[in-house]
Amino acid sequence: MSIISEKEAKILLKKVLAFSKADECECNLDGQLTGNIRYARNTVTTAGEVSDLTLAVQSTFGKKMGVATINEFDDASLEKVVRRAEELAKLAPDNPELMPNLKPAKYAKMNTYFDSTASVTPEYRAQAADDGIAPSKKKNLVASGFLTDSHTMQAVMNSNGLFAYNVDTNASFSATIRTADGKGSGWVTRDYSDINKMDTSEASSIAIEKSLGSVDAKEMEPGKYTVILEPAAGVGLLGRLFNAMGQRAADEGRSFASYKPKEGEENPPKNKLGEKMFDERVNIYSDPHHPEVPTASFASDGAPVEKTYWVKNGKIENFQNSRFWADKTGKKYNPTAAGSGQWLMSGGDESLEDMIKNTRRGVLVTRLWYIRQLDPQTLLHTGLTRDGTFYVENGKIKYPVKNFRFNESPIVMLNNIEALGKPVRINGNMVPPMKIRDFTFSSLSDAV
């Protein structure tokens, strides 16, 4: 038992709450059924399936809270788990930041579940692997890759009568195809809620093309270059910016978005809310209803989640915050969807191909790898290009170039925008291809 229906979840959670003697009680159900296949060296290596379901009970007495869970679902076990949560709550120290449970709310019905993804078989996965292996063998290439499909369920109920339920599916695929002599490497990734949109043959052909095209890369001097970041290259730095947009850290002076008071300034703000920090074409938001990247319409505490802008026209529009911090600072609580860190960045209509055509000189980057933060004040990060880096001249890919290490900040990057293309889904987010000027490459890497 790992995925149960909304009706079954409601009956089960009501039964759990009936055992509660605490001031407040909140229950979460979390189920998952996942499958995967992995291949390398032109052969299938490992594959598996996992089935798991968890019930968690959170009991509160005043400012004291305890949590306990169980994997068994008979009545005696359900009562036992409630008693354990209550015992733990009584032993716990007061937490002054603990917030009361939320009131019932209405949630939009989400289109997050697809039968196609929930019905994937081992044979389907094996075929997806061969979609990369067979054409690679014919071209003396070496394929490796990974396909995973998941069917998950989340439900929340609390003693105020709040109840939320969502079931969703996701599938993701990636492949790295290398030349037999190790001189070329190409990569591709795709992810969808509905696996019927997945074309592993088409995706693999892109990795093959990049692999063959990246052989005998030439050296370019490190320095500042105009770069075209494919969506899969931009997602890493943008994701780190999104993750750094917490209100509390900003208010405490520990964020790129902390306000630095001017000499003698009276009542300065704590953070840079409303301040223009990026090019005005930059819009970053979360939206559970987006058809390409749908999520649950509630947060893990049951708060309804709506479309929220984090950056609008280059200005910080909202911060992520906890209910406690929002309440303390008199701001709106901005929850994000349960089980998702989804964000979207707006772009234009230009395709990646158009962007290359419109570039006089630049470096096309397939992906960035091993991205690590160097300074949280400036969001300066380092990392490397990987699996397909090309020199572009007069609208055409001229030749492959050796991989670079970059030292750059997404803040600088989003102030140096030349063009934004049409966003595509990457890792559950929507990301446009971006043309960026003066992107800093600090050294060369011998890695292929």
């Binding site: 354990r84 893990s300 990392g383």
Partner: protein
């Protein structure tokens, strides 16, 4: 798992359940319940092995696991979270038609186990259609019924929660009284109760303990903020690690205190507060070439990234090509017996039996008895880290015993063993002795940012604390330091090692690898070590 995810998890409360993690929250009382009876585990494992064989498997192993974690997370004066997690279930791995198959379930009944075993065989058979390299397992003799336990002195789970919470609050107070503006401190306890059985006649019961007590402090000044993390290490020990014994401290004049097999968290937090205030005023490094003197709590991560990973045989062979990457340390370099990985004073060993280390176990997750072996001897590449299904590819007959799975839910595969740099055995030099010989250099302590390419050539590392060395003395605390190098160049620039008395074991609690990604905990021992003429960057940037 990245540090950010870890922080999110430990501060997540109920929200944590919505994260893709292994582990269910349970009460403290439940954590102290007795593990499942060994006879019962054997009976259930036999159900899995027999069902797999009946379905056509030529080999099968079953891992029945009960994985317990406890996090206590505090922030300044507040205990944010006391979270107990438990995850139990069975993972069954089989070979059918020469192909691996795997399935796992949290429902540990004979019916469910038999069904899961059959599903693992069905997966193997479906995949065998596209199999071109049938699995070849290096022989392992069944060991019968055996058990092994991490030699802990104090079970950290048995220390009262209040005592642990109070200790962290005291640490926070020490840091804040001495200059920190904010601090998060955490106890993270791990107990893996795992039972391995295979069709080759092994029934291995192991009780593995690990502990990590990190803090993350910061100070806000007029011109910005600075951060300083703890210099303690994650270890394969019990709560005795927090005893902070005098004999486990190493003093570096004008710089910091290093910790070996026990950790004085309160002292480190006090120093963190003071050093944060110095960081706010410290001058920015002038970029250029420097001789680096690297403290073990820093160098361990450089070893991890530039030696541990590139010498994993699965990376060398291409099994990790789609995720973590491949390796520059290719088979031809190893076969030549002449590949100069480092200077001739560089000796690197892999060791799954190193006391207090995170990777210390009796047997790996495919029933192989653990051992120590050479990777780089007198500077020359001599071996890799490999599992049962890989060693035949390097003409060896015995697995190195470094197969691991993060839980019952995930398939086991080749993971890094403890990889350590041997100290200077001829002269027992101290860190201070090493610094004395440096004219223009930087002493770096603690782990900072780290980034390395997918074949492990080009890397860039930061640290926690940086001290300028001039004419044999530490003269100033400096900031904004990162060094860039190439693995082979770097290890060949290794010119001096401190001795046995300075040797310390550090580690990483969350080494990530594989698809789906799995974490593994691994240690690295080393002495303070000098590397000459390394390229240092300044990481300060205007935005």
């Amino acid at each position: 798992m990245e540090r950010r995810d870890f922080i999110k998890l430990t501060g997540a409360g109920m929200g944590g359940l919505m994260l893709p993690i292994t582990g269910n929250m349970v009460s403290a009382a439940q954590l102290l319940e007795r593990p499942m009876d060994v006879a019962m585990k054997k009976q259930l494992a036999d159900v899995a092995l027999n069902a797999a064989k009946s379905a056509g498997a030529t080999y099968a192993d079953a891992r029945i696991g009960r994985y317990l974690n406890q996090f206590i997370t505090t922030r300044e004066k507040v205990v944010n979270n006391v979270v107990n997690t438990e995850s139990a279930g069975i993972g069954i791995r089989v070979i059918a038609n020469g192909t691996w198959g795997f399935a796992s379930t949290s429902l540990i009944t004979p019916e469910s186990i038999a069904k899961t075993a059959k599903q693992a065989v069905a997966i193997a058979k479906a995949n065998s259609k596209f199999q071109s390299e049938p699995v070849q397992l290096a022989p392992v003799k069944g060991v019968g019924e055996v058990s092994w336990k991490t030699p802990i002195v104090k079970n950290a789970f048995e220390i009262p929660i209040k005592d642990k919470a109070d200790m962290l609050l005291e640490v926070n107070n020490a840091a804040m009284s001495n200059g920190a503006s904010y601090i998060t401190s955490i106890f993270f306890l791990v107990n893996e109760q795992k039972y391995f059985a295979s069709t080759e006649g092994s029934y291995i019961d192991q009780d593995v303990h690990r502990l990590w007590a990190p803090f993350f402090a910061s100070a806000v000044g007029k011109s910005g903020f600075k951060q300083r993390s703890s210099l303690g290490n994650p270890v394969g020990m019990g709560f005795e690690y927090l005893d902070g014994k005098k004999e486990d401290k190493v003093y570096v004049d004008g710089a910091n205190i290093g910790y070996n097999n026990s950790y004085d968290m309160l002292e480190d937090a006090t120093n963190a507060g003071k050093q944060l205030q110095k960081k706010l005023k410290a001058k920015s490094v002038k970029p250029g070439k420097y001789d680096l003197v690297l403290d073990p709590a820093h160098l361990m991560l450089t070893i991890h990234e530039s030696v541990g990973h590139p010498l994993e045989l699965d990376r060398v062979l291409g099994y990790e090509a789609n995720f973590a990457g491949t390796s520059f340390a290719t088979l031809d370099k190893w076969k030549s017996k002449k590949f100069q990985y480092g200077s001739d004073i560089v000796n690197l060993v892999a060791d799954k039996t190193q006391p207090h280390s995170l990777g210390y176990v009796g047997y790996d997750d495919e029933g192989v008895k653990t051992k120590e072996w050479d990777l780089v001897k007198d500077g020359i590449l001599v071996n890799y880290q490999a599992t049962r299904d890989q060693v035949h590819m390097i003409d060896q007959k015995e697995s190195h015993g470094c197969c691991y799975s993060q839980s019952w839910r995930d398939v086991q595969f080749q993971r890094m063993s403890n990889v350590s740099l041997k100290p200077n055995l001829e002269e027992d030099l101290s860190a201070n002795d090493i610094i004395k010989g440096v004219e223009k250099g930087i002493y770096i302590a603690g782990r900072g940012s780290f980034s390395i390419d997918q074949q492990r050539y080009n890397f860039q590392f930061g640290g926690q604390l940086f001290f300028e060395i001039k004419d044999g003395k530490i003269v100033d605390q400096i900031e904004d330091v990162a060094y860039q190098s190439n693995t082979q160049d770097f290890w060949n620039s290794c010119v001096q090692l401190a001795g046995k008395s300075d040797y310390r074991v550090g580690g990483s609690f969350f080494d990530g690898k594989g698809q789906p990604p799995q974490v593994s905990a691994v240690s690295h021992g080393c002495p303070t070590t000098r590397f000459n003429n390394i390229n240092v960057l300044n990481t300060k940037r205007k935005v």
